[in-house]
Amino acid sequence: MAPPMIRRSGWSRRAQYSLFFGFVALVAGAVLGLVLLTVSLVAPRTFADIRGAAIDATRPIAETGSAVAATVEGLASGAGDYWDAAEQNAALREERDELRRRLIEAEAVMRENIRLKQTIGLVERSREPIATGRIIGSSQDSPRRFAVLSVGSENGVANGMPVRSSRGLIGRVVDTGRFASRVLLVSDRANVVPAKLLRTDEAVIAKGRGDGTIDIRPLEVGRNPFRPGDIIATSGTGGLYPPLVPVAKVIRLDDDGAIAVPMARPAESGFAIVEPPFEPAALASDPLGDE
């Protein structure tokens, strides 16, 4: 054993001083941390540039890592698919036939929809996505739920923009670097999404629970309107999220609301689309990007 394991300053005045000043330095560090923390809490935008730069700097590592993980996962699931190809083939064929029938129905409904909209004079604004990126990381050691996206302000991404995948809503942008950005997931506790129950059109509030599920409450208190399997979609209220993006699927009821799982699981979807805010004014007026 080279240096001493237990520190005893003994009678040496010098050793006592150095221990004392070391302790003072630690306390100063803690106080500095508290000050920085208070600033981040009170004025979340103060460190936006530094945080953006940090996401940019760590992007190559995150991206390489996620590419390796995707390859390994692909090999594993690819081998599994090969294993029961025959059974899968039959199941997929059946599913395809079913989907074809649905598609024809959907097309008919869509045409009817267009006709109805023309009659009442509703104009659909076309919504071009701002950027498409990959999800390359997530917050793993904190109670908050964030994901890192491989597009940033270079691609036109700005704080507050809604992010979705082909399957449903993922969240909204809260930190923007030049080449990467951080997304507050719908399953985060601080993320509240105005939504509606697709089956009855009833207005509900979707709030993350921090553990990968979402808490759904009806706006009007009364009978519990939910059933397991119900789909929750955005309502467009508030102007940030575009309407009718699927958010979650109810899995279980509790006393006056329900627990749901997000439709878009960031781990599976991989790709994410950044969209402009539904009403551009929603971003200008409101400091939605907390943190």
């Binding site: 630690l26 941390g33 508290l34 208070t38 050691d141 904190s142 930190d175």
Partner: protein, 174 residues
């Protein structure tokens, strides 16, 4: 051993490896990058690796770090892991302070008490993080903090083992 070291030049290669003093800080900073591990997780049960390495080194070698290192490593960890700026600056410094206070009152060291101290430091840091998330609008129930704390505490002996091995390696102790 004696004869072999006499006949070879092994005896001249004893003592710490060059740059041995930088191993602990370097390992803590590198551990921050565990936050970029490519698993998209839903619960955030991964332990804060930088904190675990910091505690493990601090308990292994009380003089492993300069006092100013804790806040610097904290800032680095905040930036890499995307925590609120200042969170790890505070928790890392706090862990060092508590470790210092406990150490002054401790009469002897053994495996179990070392682990207990680490568990206390981990729990304090997790609770600070929970409180900060609460102030920031993410009101996670306290019970949800149990799992991450337990996972981190159970992982600590492994980290302590790695640190112990690295310590022996850098000092050419074995």
């Amino acid at each position: 051993m004696g004869r072999r070291s006499l006949s070879s030049s092994a005896q001249f290669r004893r003592g710490p490896v060059p740059g041995a003093a930088y191993w602990p800080p370097a390992m803590v900073l590198l551990a921050s990058f565990f936050a970029l591990w490519p698993v998209i997780s839903f619960r955030g049960w991964w332990p804060d690796m930088a904190l675990l390495f910091l505690i493990a080194w601090r308990l292994q070698r009380p003089l492993a770090f300069s006092p100013w290192f804790a806040p610097v490593a904290g800032l680095f960890n905040d930036l890499v892991a995307g925590h609120m700026i200042g969170l790890s600056v505070f928790t890392f410094s706090l862990a060092m302070i508590v470790a210092e206070l406990i150490e002054r009152r401790r009469e002897w060291r053994d495996y179990a008490s070392e682990w207990l101290v680490a568990a206390i430091l981990i729990a304090v840091a997790e609770l600070v993080q929970w409180q900060v998330a609460r102030l920031n609008g993410a009101d996670v129930p306290l019970a949800a903090n149990g799992a991450p704390i337990v996972i981190a505490v159970l992982l600590f002996p492994l980290i302590a083992g790695i640190v112990n091995w690295a310590d022996a390696k850098r000092l050419r102790d074995r």
